[in-house]
Amino acid sequence: MSPVDAAATNVGAGNWKGLGMWAWLLFRIAGIVLVVYLFAHIGVISSARWSGHSTLNSAFTLFDHPLFVLLDLLLVWAVLFHALNGVRILLMDFGLGIHRHKAVFVVCMLVAVVSLGFFAFKAFSYIAAHHAGGLGGLV
């Protein structure tokens, strides 16, 4: 084995345990969700170009349904988790907080949870104001 290979033999050995594994796994899952959403989003917005303003407006009406508002909230969580864990990765790349990376992760997640709180407040007050009479009536 060359010295280069010998140095790399144990790379990844400690990856599959603890907080770092969950951060990595959720980061990936959120990333996949976001890339799927990106293309769905481009598809929806471009519908105005294919079949006119009314198609886009009726899509927006559909998205006002509480089910979609809750899915939106899930999406906001994917954005916040991916973005704040990404901030942690950027800090690591600059060599900041490497020896306290768990504390950095916890602080990032606190920021994510507090931000999610704002969006959740907005989402639930929207549902309460517009769908107080019940949750039926998709489309």
């Binding site: 060359s2 280069v4 033999t9 890339v35 481009i42 471009s46 170009r49 303003h53 927006f60």
Partner: protein
């Protein structure tokens, strides 16, 4: 008594470590595999540059549409928002950065599990650049009625 003499196997002469002609390292990652799966310097750098663009742009995008709630979402609402150059810049840079960041992220996942050969990795990169560029052009075409007034 038959004293058995156990001959030790002849020692292979020590090979000088040249860094070339690695022995097959089955069951563990060789340094060259780890290096290849990192996806290259430009992918790494652009992934971080677009990450910063996305953090700033998405924050603006989400806060404008959902927290400050500049009107209920509709064709006309987007029309009002994209009347300002600021939001045109935000939306167009979001489109470009998100397409690159998303597709390069998908590429990183693929490289972690599949595509060992250099040629197949190159083919994937070219395919993703073509697909991503086409998506950007399509996205600009979709935004054009709002931008071009």
């Amino acid at each position: 008594m038959n004293a058995q003499v156990v001959e030790s196997p002849p020692q292979a002469p020590r090979q000088p470590a040249t860094g070339k002609d690695h022995p097959p390292t089955t069951g563990r990652m060789s340094a060259s595999v780890i290096d290849q799966s990192s996806g290259g310097m430009w992918g790494w750098l652009l992934q971080r540059v677009t990450a910063v663009v996305l953090i700033v742009g998405l924050l603006t995008h989400l806060v404008a549409t959902h927290i400050f709630n500049l009107g209920r979402l509709s064709f006309l609402n987007i029309d009002h928002r994209l009347a300002s150059t600021f939001f045109v810049v935000i939306d167009v840079s979001l489109l470009a950065a998100a397409i690159f960041h998303g597709l390069n992220g998908a590429r990183m996942i693929v490289l972690d599990y599949w595509l060992e050969s250099r040629a197949s990795r190159r083919a994937l990169s070219i395919a993703l650049w073509v697909f991503g560029s086409a998506t950007f052009v399509y996205g600009m075409w979709a935004l054009w009625p709002w931008i071009s007034r």
